[in-house]
Amino acid sequence: MAGFNKVVHSYDEAMAGLENGMTVIAGGFGLCGIPEGLIAQIKKMGTRDLTVVSNNCGVDGFGLGVLLEDRQIKKMVASYVGENALFEKQLLSGELEVELTPQGTLAEKIRAGGAGIPAFFTATGYGTPVAEGKETREINGRNYVLEPSITGDFAIVRAWKADRYGNLVFRHTAMNFNPMVATAGKITVAEVEEIVEPGELEPSQIHTPGIYVQRVIQAKFEKRIERRMVRQG
C-alpha cells in the first residue's frame, strides 16, 4: 500500500519541495482552521518571494502574519486583511503587493482551479474596482465579471481527521476554505488532529477525498481565538 500511504512524520517532509517564488494557497478563516505547523515550517525554511492566497493574512505574530516578519510574502491574495498592523505597513510602503478579492469570488476561484475550470462569470464586483481590467458581459439582462481560477504549487490545509489515503474530515466551522484549498495544490499538505484507520471515516461523509491530498501530518494545534464572545449560561 506504499503508493497510498500519505502520512509523513516531519514538517521537513511535509513541506519538501517548497521553493522561492512559489504560490501557496492556505485554508482557514481568520485564525480558525489554519494549518499552524505548516505555516511555522514555511517561516523556519525562510522561503521567499511567495505568493500567498488565503482569505486572511493572520494577525501580528500568529497565522500567516508570521511570514510577514521576515518579508517572505511578495504578494498576498485575500479578501480581508484588517487585523494586521505589519501587513498594513508593508502594504503602504509598497513592499507587499496585495490583490483584494471578494470572499465568495476567492472561494470560487480556488474551487474552479481544483476543478479544471479556468474561468467563470460572476456578478460579484461588477461596477467596482474589482472588475477593473477584467472582461465583463451582460447575460440574460445582468452584468457579470469574468474571473480566472487559482491554483497553487502548494496547498496547505488543516483538518480534523484523516486516514492514510488522505481522506479528510473537517471540524465545525474550521472547514471554511479548507475543502476548496485542498483541491487546488499541485502538492496538497494536510495538517490534522487525528489519523484514523481506513474505513473509520464513513465514505459518504468525507469532506475531501484523498485523491486531492499528497501528504498528511499529525499535529497539535494552539487554536487561538480572535474574538472570544460569551453569554451568561
Binding site: Q103, M175, M180, R227
Partner: protein
Amino acid sequence: MALSREQVAMRVAQELKDGYYVNLGIGIPTLVANYVPAGIEVMLQSENGLLGMGPYPTEAQIDADMINAGKETVTAIKGAAIFSSAESFAMIRGGHVDLTVLGAFEVDQNGNIASWMIPGKLVKGMGGAMDLVAGAQNIVVTMTHADKYGASKLLDACTLPLTGVGCVKKIVTDLAVLEVKDGAFHLLERAPGISVEEIQQKTAGKLVINGEIPEMVFA
C-alpha cells in the same frame, strides 16, 4: 430624536418575515438578531459556512472551531448546517439568501453602495460584502444618516469605491426609513420626533416625499 443603534436594529427587524434566511453584517446588523418579532422565525447565515447561527456560547460551550463571519465564538441551533465557504457563497451568489443587512459608508440614489474602502485611509478589504450585495434578493443598509461632521451619507452618487451597483433597496438610518427606486430616495418613515425638514436637509441625494410621512412604530 435620532435612533439609538438598538432602535435602528429594532426597526430593521420589522423587515424580517417568517421563514427568511438572513445574513447580518457586522455592527448594528448583528443586533437585529436580538429583535426578531414574536411569532416569526428566521435562520441566520454566516458566510464563513454556517446556516442556523445561534447565540454566543456559554463559557463551557466555547470552541475555537466554532466561529461566525465576524470571527466571534458562536453556537449553532438545532437544525443548523455547516459547509465550506464555496458552498456558503454558492448560496449567497445563487440568490438563496432572502435578506442581507449590512452597514455602509455611503449609499446613493441609484442603489449603489460603498462600504469597504476609503482611499489613503482604510484598506481592510471587502470580505464577503461584494458577494452579499450582488447575491441577496433584498438588501437593507443600516447607517447613520450623516457623518459626525453632519455631511450626508445618502448621496446622488457615491464618491468612494463601490461595493455594488444598483443593489440597495431599503435604508434604515438613525433618522428615517427610505426606499431606493427610480433614481431617488423615497422617504417612508421618520424617527419619532424627527422632522421631514431635518431628513431633507441631511439627504444630499434626490429625496421624494409623498404625502404625510408617518413616524416609525416600535412594538
